[in-house]
């Protein structure tokens, strides 16, 4: 690439627009990642009501659908859809740039610091994208559910997970979510510049804790249904 000659008079005005810059797209990635990380945490907490029985869970579902006279759920759906779309767009555009940046790969590359979680982000992310579509068709709209009863969230939850293949896919997807959060929650703090030696161990621990908690609790649901704890 030929470089433009530096010129003190135009300093700062030769800079590319925010979304054209790599760090700008990383900030989009981190901001949408924050929204999605917040959502999966709240979603996991809401799911815990499955352990409290049909009445509590169905009541919670009615409460969510009734927020802001029914508008709340559509606002959150719009925000989440935008967040997923932008997260995917940023991931794709950055991944393409990264792959183009090393056209000839190493014969031997010995990793020192990266983890399986950090190197597999794009694959756990794509798996989660597919899972989200299936999850919506399964427990929201019902097309992928063998015995869907509109409105009876608890019954759909139980009969849905009684199909072993469905439960296995949920467990695999939640493992992917755990790995994605393991690296992603730490990574987004780094992108926002939230580094300080006093807090660095804390943000690592926070990411690992969230990853284990969200994935662990969510994986417990299909297992609880298959083992008859929830019925």
């Amino acid at each position: 690439m030929p470089a433009s000659q530096p010129n003190a008079l135009t300093a700062g005005n030769r800079a590319a627009p925010f979304l054209d810059s790599s760090v700008g797209r990383k900030v989009v990635m981190a901001a949408t990642g924050t929204i999605l990380f917040g959502f999966v945490t709240v979603h996991m907490l809401g799911n815990l009501q499955a352990y409290l029985g049909a009445q509590v869970m169905n009541h919670y579902a009615e409460f969510l659908r009734g927020l802001l006279h029914g508008g709340g759920i559509w606002i959150s759906r719009a925000v989440l859809l935008a967040a997923v779309g932008l997260h995917g767009w940023a991931a794709l555009s950055l991944t393409l740039a990264n792959q183009a940046a090393r056209p000839v790969s190493y014969r031997a590359q010995t990793y020192q610091a990266s983890t399986w979680a950090s190197r597999s982000m794009r694959w756990t992310g794509v798996t989660l994208g597919v899972f989200i579509v299936y999850h919506l068709l399964h427990l929201t709209t019902g097309q992928a559910h063998p015995h869907f009863i509109p409105g009876d969230v608890y019954r759909n939850f139980v009969t849905g997970f009684q199909v072993p293949a469905a439960s296995v896919f949920y467990i695999v997807a939640q493992l992917c979510l755990g790995f994605h959060l393991w690296h992603g929650v730490w990574s987004l703090t780094q992108t926002f510049g939230l580094a300080h030696p006093r807090y660095d161990p804390l943000r690592r621990f926070f990411a690992y804790g969230i990853a284990v908690l969200v994935a662990g609790v969510n994986i417990s649901f299909p297992i609880a249904v298959l083992t008859g704890i929830i019925h």
Binding site: M1, V27, A100, A101, R102, T110, Y111, A113, Q190, F192
Partner: protein, 261 residues
């Protein structure tokens, strides 16, 4: 007491940027464990010259670990197996008799191979030209301590300034990203009073140049920090990200009107 090794080298040979290149195997005998890695390559090259073959081209200059010229990927690690060590300061005692050693150039689209193990790192120079400097009026040297600098900032700036621009961070990054180099060059100025006037134009200008050079982007693996012979910290990347976000939110477009009346 010096021991000798016999090792097998798998060296990347490439005539020029257009040549696809490939690995060639060489056997190196009677290699003293006291030799540096580059001295071992010198011995291999002497033998190649005696046999009338083309010697292996590699970059090197000071051989004291401070110039940033040497840089080979040795068994999958830039600068080889020792931490905080440049290739020239790596010694053959880090290897064992009978070892197979794979030697590759730093691989990145932004660093085209000139020949064999030598790559063109002038992309780094262009990034520095885009903003990695301070504009100062010339004149007398200012008095020492005329500008107060907190000790902690001086230390952190010096840590960042330890970067020798060797590009091991790019070589180690799974995305061939230059973020650690960039972050060091931005931090060494951002932490000091002299760097403040251009702090927020510098970060945007340098990042624009980095992207134009076709480096990859950071995914926070941390491989750069692990490979860096000068222990540049990931914290510098966070500082650069912070400065970039602030710069993007606050810059004023040039009106072309100038200041004053």
């Amino acid at each position: 007491m010096s021991n000798t090794l016999t090792i097998t080298l798998h060296v990347w040979r490439q005539k020029n940027a257009q040549d696809p290149g490939g690995f060639v195997e060489y056997s190196a005998k009677d290699i003293s464990t006291e030799m540096s890695f580059l001295e071992m390559l010198d011995v291999v090259n002497e033998n190649l010259i005696h046999k009338g073959e083309e010697p292996i081209t590699f970059d090197h200059d000071c051989r004291e670990g401070i110039c940033g010229q040497c840089g080979l990927v040795i068994n999958g690690r830039p600068h080889g197996p020792r931490e905080r060590t440049t290739t020239c300061q790596l010694h053959m005692r880090s290897f064992r008799d009978g070892d197979d050693i794979v030697i590759e150039p730093f691989r990145a689209k932004a660093f085209p191979v000139i020949k064999d193990l030598m790559v063109d790192r002038s992309a780094f120079d262009r990034i520095i030209s885009a903003g990695g400097f301070i504009s100062v009026p010339t004149g007398c040297a200012p008095d020492g301590n005329a500008i107060p600098v907190p000790k902690e900032n001086a230390d952190l700036a010096m840590d960042a300034a330890a970067c020798i621009g060797c590009a091991a961070c790019v070589a180690a990054c799974p995305n061939a990203s230059a973020m650690l180099f960039m972050a060091a060059k931005i931090s060494q100025l951002a932490l000091l009073p002299q760097g403040q006037p251009e702090r927020y134009t510098r970060v945007r200008d340098m990042l624009t140049q980095m992207d134009a050079e076709a480096f990859g982007t950071c995914t926070n693996h941390g491989e750069c920090e692990a490979a860096c012979p000068k222990s540049i910290k990931l914290e510098n990347i966070a500082r650069m990200n912070r400065d970039f976000i602030k710069a993007s939110l606050t810059y004023r477009p040039d009106t072309g009107l100038g200041g004053g009346a």
